[in-house]
């Protein structure tokens, strides 16, 4: 099993979700996060005083899948979240050692 963490532009969430649904991924967890990479922050003005916004709002999607599906999921996310402009985000793939479905107690791949 692997967890795919994707940090994307917030307005791309629906596109990414639809793309994942299309390849049969029916569960995911979404977080509102803030951060910066090469895009850096930007300057804003409040009542005449300028200030730097370092952390830009992003959405983080967590999906746990069978290892055989990882390439497919990564491709679906990178295609659907791509705008070609700086700040599109990143995808990380992590190993997962165990999964449990709390309601039934199922374990491993049955639980995802």
């Amino acid at each position: 099993m692997n967890k795919i963490e994707a940090i994307i532009k917030p307005f791309k969430l629906d596109d990414v979700k639809d793309a994942l649904n299309k390849i049969g991924i029916n569960g995911m967890t979404v977080n509102e996060v803030k951060g910066f990479g090469r895009q850096r922050g930007h300057k804003e003005i409040y009542r005449g005083a300028e200030y730097q916004v370092d952390f830009i709002p992003k959405i983080k999607i967590d999906v746990v899948v069978d290892s055989s599906l990882v390439d497919q999921v990564v491709e679906a996310i990178s295609k659907s979240a791509n705008t070609g402009k700086i700040g599109d985000g990143k995808i990380f793939v992590l190993p997962v050692s165990e999964a449990v479905r709390i309601r039934t107690g199922e374990r491993g791949e049955d639980a995802i």
Binding site: L13, D14, K17, M28, T29, V30, E32, I45, Y46, R47, G48, A49, E50, Y51, R103
Partner: protein, 469 residues
């Protein structure tokens, strides 16, 4: 159809029959009847205007909470509620008598405390007049709340709000407005023009706010160690904007209502009030756009208020064109004033000192310059005297008051309490306890994952209340 006409005629006959039974009208009885209708209209207009001015309390509350952080929202609501509640009682007991009682010296009134001028069965005009005046007193008091926001001890603010409604506001008010009822002040005898209170209400509030802000010092984090300004963002600009719209509406009671009479004068006052606000908003937006490269919303909202404050004094005595010029200049002044106070480390989160103190002074001066009946150095001199007298009375007394509160019970909360937020420390609560959950639910996580949705049977099951064992 015929039936209707006949029955209509019968009713008409009945009515004229009833009239015929009355006394024959005379010129005198007609005049009395007309005067009575006019009196009733005066009551209705004055009390309707009082209700509009009362609504301005909501406007101030929204502006202030919008421009400050969510962790202090309860505190702002409580301050705006309680300065009106406590101020009303103080103005009933002492303030009204000081302001409008018989004044032998021209410096303060000495009769009419505890609304003693009203006797059951007697003329109730004093009640209508008191109601209109108490909402003005509360306006002066509540201006200070925004400037001192996010760091003032609640109990200290309560004491201040009683003293301004009981003493500081009424004494200056008696100098300029005492003659509207039984009093008579030295300033009005000199011919001071302040129709609805640019100085009497707004500068009084503005200069008291200045004193309070100086005694308090800036909020933690407003200035960096190397002296740079670090803006502290307000938590809800739409609420601040709603507040400005409410205040603009309330001002249609504030200025035209100050006739305390239903007459034709209110038309020009209404128009002047609106035009000055419009010009203030436009010019503040343009000034901000030129200076910062963007049409800053906070400054533009302040600009509308600046125009309204400025026109409050001259609204009955200038032409609509003059009103536009007065409001436009106020719109420029307010932006520069906000930047100035920020630079000299006077931390006013909502711009109250700039809007009410500075633009109140400008409006009072403009009443002399643009006077519809012509101007002279003497008229302008009296206006300047009134502006100075207001500052020299209000700033020192308010400063002394805030210092006294500071050395006795303390005016400012501890740094830990300030960082934690006044809502939790002073009031034991949170303004938006469900904010994060509902925020996540509304984020767009469609497909049944939102916490507020229960689409599947199992989810519905899970949302049933858990039985207590």
């Amino acid at each position: 159809m015929k039936k209707i006409i006949i029955s209509g005629l019968l009713v008409l006959c009945g009515v004229t029959g009833a009239w015929a039974a009355d006394k024959v009208p005379t010129v005198l009885s007609n005049k009395e009847a007309i005067d009575l209708v006019q009196t009733h209209a005066d009551y209705v207009w004055t009390l309707l205007a009082a209700a509009l001015v009362f609504f301005m309390q909501a406007g101030f509350a929204m502006v202030e909470t919008g421009f400050t952080r969510a962790k202090n929202a309860i505190n702002i609501m409580m301050k705006n509620l309680m300065d009106f509640a406590m101020g009303s009682l103080a103005f009933w007991a002492i303030g009204f008598g000081l302001m409008f009682g018989v004044s032998k010296t021209g410096w303060f009134g000495t009769t009419g405390f505890f609304l003693s001028d009203f006797k059951p069965g007697g003329d109730p005009w004093v009640l209508a007049f008191w109601m209109f005046q108490v909402v003005f007193a509360a306006t002066a008091a509540t201006i200070v709340s925004g400037a001192m926001a996010e760091r003032t001890k609640f109990i200290g603010y309560l004491i201040y709000s009683v003293v301004i409604s009981l003493l500081i506001y009424p004494v200056f008010g008696s100098w300029a407005w005492g003659g509207l009822y039984k009093g008579g002040g030295w300033l009005e005898h000199l011919g001071f023009i302040d129709f609805a209170g640019s100085t009497v209400v707004h500068s009084v509030g503005g200069w008291a706010a200045l004193a309070g802000t100086i005694v308090l010092g800036p909020r933690i984090g407003k200035y960096t160690k190397d002296g740079k300004i670090k803006p502290i963002l307000g938590h809800n600009i739409p609420l601040a904007a709603l507040g400005v719209f409410i205040l603009w509406l309330g001002w249609f009671g504030f200025n035209p209502g100050s006739t305390t009479a239903a007459n034709k004068d209110i038309a020009m006052i209404f128009v002047n009030t609106n035009l000055a606000a419009a010009a203030g908003a436009v010019m503040a937006m343009m000034t901000a756009w030129i200076k910062f490269g963007k049409p800053d919303s906070g400054m533009t909202l302040n600009g509308a208020l600046a125009g309204l404050v400025a026109i409050t004094s001259p609204c009955a005595t200038v032409t609509p064109l003059s009103a536009i010029i007065i409001g436009a200049i106020a719109g420029v002044i307010v932006v520069l004033a906000v930047l100035f106070f920020d630079r000299i480390r006077i931390d006013d989160p909502v711009g109250a000192i700039s809007v009410h103190g500075v633009c109140g002074a400008w409006g009072t001066l403009s009443a002399g310059i643009f006077n519809i009946g012509g101007t002279s150095l003497k008229i302008i001199g009296v206006q300047l005297l009134g502006i100075s007298a207001c500052f020299l009375w209000v700033f020192p007394t308010a400063f002394l008051l805030f210092k006294l509160i500071d050395v006795t019970i303390g005016l400012r909360v501890s740094p830990e309490e300030e960082l934690e937020g006044l809502d939790f420390v002073e009031h034991g609560g949170t303004a938006y306890p469900d904010f994060e959950i509902s925020h996540a639910g509304g984020m767009g996580t469609t497909g049944g994952h939102g916490l507020l949705k229960a689409n599947t049977a199992s989810e519905k099951l899970l949302r049933q209340p858990v039985e207590q064992s």
